[in-house]
């Protein structure tokens, strides 16, 4: 009840700010004093027109799904590609007859990189548009802000980005990597003989929840592996930090004598200034390789990569993965962008979160067909343990913890903004929402337990 009231007031506040900002759609709603017509207009404008044309299933009502990615503001840089790839998956499915003979009708909304707006748009999708499932979010803070909405209304969210873990929601399927599927294996690789046997670790990140939690886990792991505390440095910068002179100077000192590496969770537009300064101060990838968790092909697309060549990244998928279905996926995506006149057209690339967003749609489709219904509770059960031949190889949804079993790949950045895969895990890595290093006593299970539970 208390929860409800709080939600209510914050909701009202949102409305006021929206009005001040002059968001036309929103204001219209207020004037009309109702939200009933919210979806139809948006859907008709942005919906998948291709799907409409083929209308042999027109007699059956289409299934509505929501797409909740920022199309403007600071996060648009990353999230627009996710919208594109989800729409492509929808088009593919619709052209093959849809789900259970019904077309999918996407409802695209723009939360504009505004965390509060995420919750509001999620509410709109669930209550007004009554979508069966939502694909969306990128940043952890946006996910945290929509979480109560999904849990309260028993919605279903597919979240496609690698994240810091420590979460186990019944209403979210995490198709990106948990920390033990990206950061932990990356550091293990750096410590291995093959990865250079590094002994000193400089943990550098942007100051928010993902880097902080990831580095907390990594520090615990390094200490558990008997790395002396003096060989671990941790440092954070504000968002949009541009001046990396001092930090690179510190890294240079730290790296003297060899055996050092940098673990970077630097986000967004701070990456270019960092790598540039790193190269300009005479440091090379051989002196201290930078292992990044937030730099993928899509971010490298427009960057001047000369300063990044030879540095590393850890993901579960790269565009360069050599499988037939990936070649098809990449070609399809380029063709899709060209056909729909999206910016950069054929020059677009695919990357890890895009792959995760893409196969998320198919996992949901499979589950709906298995359950014979779009009802959230039935679909959820059908997702457990389901498998799919994703572009990067076969993946498997976990039997109980709502995360995804995926392979882990370490890649080296090449001049053309692609990655050369230098190491890959044996088989799929089982996801651990609660890290064994920081929360050894906690587990996540929605089959035998109610979500997060205490291990005995």
């Amino acid at each position: 009840m208390e929860q409800k009231e709080i939600n209510h007031t914050s909701e009202e506040k949102k409305d006021v700010t929206d009005m001040e900002q002059g968001n036309p759609t929103r204001r219209e709603f207020l004037v009309q004093g109702t939200r009933t017509v919210a979806g139809a207009g948006v859907a008709a404008l942005l919906g998948n027109l291709g799907g409409w044309a083929l209308s042999y299933a027109a007699d059956k009502e289409p299934i509505k799904i929501g797409i909740l990615h920022s199309l403007s503001g600071t996060m648009a840089i990353s999230e627009v590609s996710l919208r594109d790839v989800v729409l492509m998956a929808v088009e593919e499915i619709n052209s093959k007859g849809g789900v259970m003979g019904r077309k999918i009708q996407p409802v695209v909304v723009d939360p504009a990189s505004n965390w509060d707006l995420f919750a509001e748009k999620a509410k709109q999708l669930l209550l007004v548009d009554k979508v069966a499932v939502v694909f969306g979010c990128w940043t952890s803070v946006s996910r945290k802000s929509v979480l109560p909405v999904f849990e309260k209304n028993n919605g279903l969210l597919f979240y496609p980005v690698q994240y810091e873990g420590e979460e186990c929601s019944r209403n979210v399927f995490y198709t990106g990597a948990a920390v033990n599927q990206q950061a932990v294996p990356a550091v293990e690789y750096l410590m291995s003989k093959e990865g250079g046997g590094h002994k000193k670790f400089y943990l550098l990140g942007t100051d928010y929840v993902y880097p902080r939690t990831t580095n907390k886990i990594l520090r615990a792991m390094l200490l558990a592996k008997k790395v002396p505390p003096a060989n671990i440095m941790e440092e954070y910068t504000p968002f949009h930090h541009q001046d990396y002179q001092t930090i690179v100077g510190k890294i240079k000192k730290f790296a003297a004598g060899g055996g050092a590496c940098v673990i970077s969770t630097i986000n967004g537009d701070s990456n270019v200034p960092f790598y540039k300064e790193f190269a300009n101060q005479g440091l090379r990838a051989e002196d201290a390789p930078i292992m990044a968790f937030s730099v993928a092909e899509d971010e490298l697309r427009g960057m001047d990569t000369s300063a990044l060549v030879g540095h590393l990244a850890a993901w579960n998928y790269y565009q360069s993965v050599d499988t037939p279905q990936n070649k098809q996926f990449v070609a399809n995506f380029k063709a899709y962008c060209k056909k729909n006149n999206l910016p950069d057209g054929e020059k677009r690339v695919t990357d890890d979160p895009m792959e995760a967003a893409y196969f998320g749609v198919y996992i949901w489709k499979q589950a709906v067909e298995k359950a014979g219904s779009t009802e959230v509770n039935k679909v959820r059960k059908a997702v457990y343990g389901s498998e799919f031949l994703a572009p990067g190889g076969k993946i498997k949804m976990d039997e109980a913890n709502h995360h995804t079993n995926k392979p882990v790949l370490i890649g080296e950045i090449l001049k053309d903004g692609q990655f050369k895969i230098v190491s890959r895990s044996k088989g799929l890595v089982k996801p651990e929402p609660w890290s064994e290093y920081t929360n050894p006593d906690k587990g996540c299970d929605w089959v035998k337990h109610q979500g997060t539970y205490q291990k005995k």
């Binding site: 403007s72 004598g257 051989e286 427009g302």
Partner: protein, 504 residues
């Protein structure tokens, strides 16, 4: 020692000729490797390193490509060493230097003769330094006490930061509880003095670097704020779209670069930046002129409305850039602006930062010349000080306003162009800098260029002084707190305009 080296070289024969080692041995080693027998691998790699030369590289790569992980791991040192040996003879000094560093950190004694050979031919001061350092680092790991102690002394002399961990180990070995031998004690003594020497040097280098970083950050703040100092400081227009004018400057640079790529021969590409500076200045000045004529001139003397209107303009410009250019565009720094100049051991001054420092000094000089040494400047100052009186005296105040605003905008464009050397080009670029720019201008005192210069030096320098001890996040917070406290005590900033104008 020298004698031994000569022998080694002699035995090997001149580089690249096949006259040297018995072929059969190498062939046997290669066969052993390819067979993948773990027992023979190490010996085979050892033979390859000692007897082989870079001409073997293609064969080794072939074996590496065809074999499993264990063989790849075993063969890696041989490949690394031989490749670096080949690179020691490279024509580029960066390559040679990088090879020397790698040989030093690989720590194989077999590399010593190669390095010594390279040293005799090397003319570049810093490559020589690196080669000497690498030789000494490898020798430091030897078992022979005399070699070792001379290496310790040499490393101290070279001020080698890279040697500090190894030297500290030596000191540790001689700790009283380990019951060291006399030899170890002597070694520790030598190591201690070497470490001391290195660290004294490092603290000087650090002080020098901090000063440079402060100046560099100040120059960036200054070049960002100059345009604002004129538009806001002199004209009193609060232009919220100033950051977006910088962004337009950055995109103008990008477009110039793309044009050079598309229409001019590849050799000309390195000079695109010289063309981009006037282009971005003029393009943005033109934008400023349009902005002034269509929005701002109707709002002179109404700061709140100006603020809202220009903020709207800034949103439009951001979204327009996003729609037209997409989110990601990059400017590739020309080769003469990437990398850095090494001025002392361990201290690099990046060329892009040196360039921005020079550019901001030139801009300041240019502005002073224009405002205080030309007739146009005289009129500008007259209008800014007393508009009505100037008007009475026949100065066309409208025109003066327009081109003052255009000039201030052009400076923002130039700043945007310079900023492409540091960061990336994206629609939100201006938003990152606008707050800092206003902070500098307000702290310096509105209406005084000297204030802007002093404030950017102060804020930049202070930031770099605070950052090492407080970290980037708290450094920034502290700067803001200090600025707020300062403005509490002196609301009109560092330098104030005295006289009647101040009250108006």
């Amino acid at each position: 020692m020298l004698c031994g080296t000569e022998q080694a070289i002699g035995a090997e024969g001149p580089r690249g000729t096949a006259a040297a080692p018995p072929l059969s041995l190498i062939e046997k080693a290669l066969a052993d490797l390819a067979a993948g027998d773990p027992a023979k691998q190490d010996a085979a790699v050892q033979t390859l390193i000692e007897q082989g030369d870079p001409s073997l590289l293609p064969k080794l790569e072939e074996i590496r490509g065809n074999s499993d992980r264990a063989v790849r791991l075993a063969i890696k040192p041989a490949i690394d060493l031989l490749r670096n040996r080949a690179n020691l003879a490279s024509a580029e000094s960066d390559r040679r230097r990088s090879a020397a560093t790698d040989l030093g950190s690989l720590g194989r004694p077999a590399a010593i003769p190669w390095l010594e050979d390279a040293l005799t031919r090397e003319s570049n001061r810093w490559v020589r330094h690196t080669i000497e350092e690498s030789i000494a680092l490898i020798k430091l790991a030897s078992d022979d006490p005399t070699t070792k102690i001379s290496a310790v002394a040499k490393l101290g002399e070279l001020r080698s930061q890279n040697a500090v961990p190894a030297l500290k180990d030596l000191i540790q070995q001689a700790a009283p509880e380990a019951q060291p031998t006399d030899q170890q004690k002597a070694m520790a003594q030598a190591a201690r003095s070497a470490v001391e020497r290195i660290e004294v040097w490092a603290s000087w280098a650090n002080a020098f670097e901090t000063i440079f970083r402060g100046i560099s950050l100040s120059s960036i703040l200054l070049i960002m704020s100059l345009g604002l100092a004129i538009v806001f400081g002199l004209m009193g227009v609060i232009n919220m779209a100033h950051g977006e004018l910088m962004m337009i400057g950055a995109y103008a640079t990008f477009v110039t670069q793309e044009c050079f790529k598309a229409y001019l021969p590849a050799g000309a590409f390195d000079y695109y930046f010289l063309a981009a500076m006037p282009v971005s200045f003029l393009v943005v000045a033109l934008c400023g002129l349009i902005l002034e004529a269509t929005v701002i001139r109707f709002l002179y003397g109404r700061p709140l409305e100006t603020m809202l209107a220009t903020w709207g303009v800034s949103l439009v410009l951001i979204q327009a850039a996003r729609v037209y250019f997409g989110d990601l565009t990059s400017v590739v720094a020309p080769s003469w602006l990437s990398g850095g100049a090494q001025v002392m051991v361990g201290v690099y001054l990046p060329y892009n930062r040196l360039f921005i420092i020079t550019l901001s000094i030139l801009c300041v000089a240019g502005i002073y010349f224009l405002l205080f040494r030309t007739g146009v400047g005289l009129r500008v100052r007259a209008v800014m000080q007393n508009r009505d009186m100037s008007s009475c005296l026949g100065i066309p105040t409208r025109t003066v306003d327009a081109y003052t605003f255009a000039f201030g905008s052009g400076l923002a464009g130039l700043a945007g162009c310079a900023l492409t050397l540091i960061g990336n080009v994206e629609p939100g670029l201006g938003q990152n800098y606008i707050v800092d720019s206003f902070m500098v201008v307000v702290t310096g005192g509105v209406g005084k260029l000297t204030g802007t210069i002093v404030a950017s030096l102060g804020i930049g320098g202070l930031n770099k002084l605070l950052e090492p001890s407080f970290g980037a996040v708290y450094g920034k917070v502290l700067i803001l707190v200090l600025v707020i406290l300062f403005l509490q005590r002196r609301p009109s900033g560092l330098f104030t305009i005295k006289g009647r104008h101040a009250e108006s």
